[in-house]
């Protein structure tokens, strides 16, 4: 290595050394100012490492609120639909009742005749066993009567 290169190397080392010394001085000066400022400032407990939990809690609360409002809206809609369905069913039942009443009022004679026929058949079926021969005789007689008439 020539003396020129050696001199250049030594010069470079000096520059690097000086730069590193100044770098340390700059860190020291900055740190001292920041330290004294922070010491004079009222200290608030800043906990950045816990920010993740706060953020997660915020998100969870937000999600719960959003889910709650969606569920509320769905419940309200369903409730309204149910009420409408009940009202429609009531209206239909009333209409049917009205129609039945109207039809009954239109043909009262027929209804009475039907009722009498039902009662007759019920009575004729309810003949006690002791009266069975008499009933048979009556049937025969009525058959005979109808035969003579023919």
């Amino acid at each position: 290595m020539s003396w020129k290169h050696r001199l250049a190397g030594e010069d470079e080392d000096l520059v690097v050394e000086q730069a590193l010394r100044n770098f340390k001085a700059s860190v020291d000066a900055w740190s001292e100012v920041a330290w004294s400022e922070s010491a004079s400032r009222p200290r608030t407990p800043v906990r950045r490492l816990g920010q993740g939990w706060r953020l997660a809690t915020g998100w969870a609360l937000g999600c719960v609120l959003a889910a709650g409002s969606v569920a509320g809206a769905l419940y309200e809609r369903r409730h309204t639909l149910d009420l409408a369905r009940i009202a429609a069913a009531q209206a239909a039942a009333e209409k049917i009742e009205q129609v039945q009443l109207a039809s009954r009022q239109k043909t009262p004679g027929q209804t009475d005749q039907d009722l009498l026929a039902t009662v007759d058949s019920d009575i004729s079926r309810a003949v006690p066993a002791a009266m069975e021969p008499l009933a048979q005789m009556m049937d025969e007689k009525s058959a005979d009567d109808s035969g003579t008439q023919q």
């Binding site: 860190v27 100012v33 800043v46």
Partner: protein, 182 residues
């Protein structure tokens, strides 16, 4: 000595440790993170952790080395958490590299010398900002905290050879950066 008295002595010892080493830990974290608020917070965390584990400190290393190790781990956790974030928050409190170079005590004689010195300090800051986390830690412990290689090895959990290699690479980059402007 009763238990109460021993605890009292330990508490006194710890407050002395805090008093002596707190500004140094803060300075290291500040240089490493370039964020005053974050450096303060991590310094608080560091001494909180140290206080919790003070009873288990056996004195194998100096309290400063032990504290520095806690600070380095906290800093690692911080960077890891930042990497894990899906969205990166901009560091509103972080100081720009040029701004960090402004903190130069005016020891130089002429205005030109002052300007040159400031420029070179800014260049060193720039190199430090671009070093890997491990290289930066080793570099700052050596050239700002002026720790011995053995202490750096203890604080970082690296071997002395690895520390030397990291220092050599970091210094090479500083040298190259400074050579560029000459």
């Amino acid at each position: 000595m009763t238990v109460v008295t021993a605890e009292g002595v330990a508490a006194q010892d710890f407050s002395r440790v805090v008093e002596v080493h707190r500004p140094q830990i803060f300075r290291f974290l500040l240089a490493s993170l370039r964020d005053v608020d974050l450096a303060e917070t991590l310094t608080q965390e560091c001494f909180l952790k140290a206080h919790r584990n003070w009873g288990r400190f056996r004195g194998d290393s100096s309290p400063m080395t032990w504290l520095m190790r806690i600070a380095i781990n906290l800093q690692k956790d911080h960077w890891r958490n930042r990497r894990m974030q899906f969205w990166r928050q901009t560091r509103a409190n972080a100081v720009d590299l040029d701004e960090a170079g402004e903190w130069l005590p005016s020891g130089e004689r002429t205005a030109e010398q002052r300007m040159l010195a400031r420029e070179r300090v800014a260049q060193v800051w720039s190199v430090v900002g671009n070093l890997s986390e491990r290289q930066r830690t080793v570099f700052l412990l050596r050239y700002v905290e002026e720790r011995e290689l053995s202490e750096i090895a203890q604080a970082t959990g690296l071997s002395e050879g690895t520390v030397k290699a990291h220092l050599s690479r970091a210094l090479g980059r500083v040298r190259a950066e400074l050579r560029g402007t000459r």
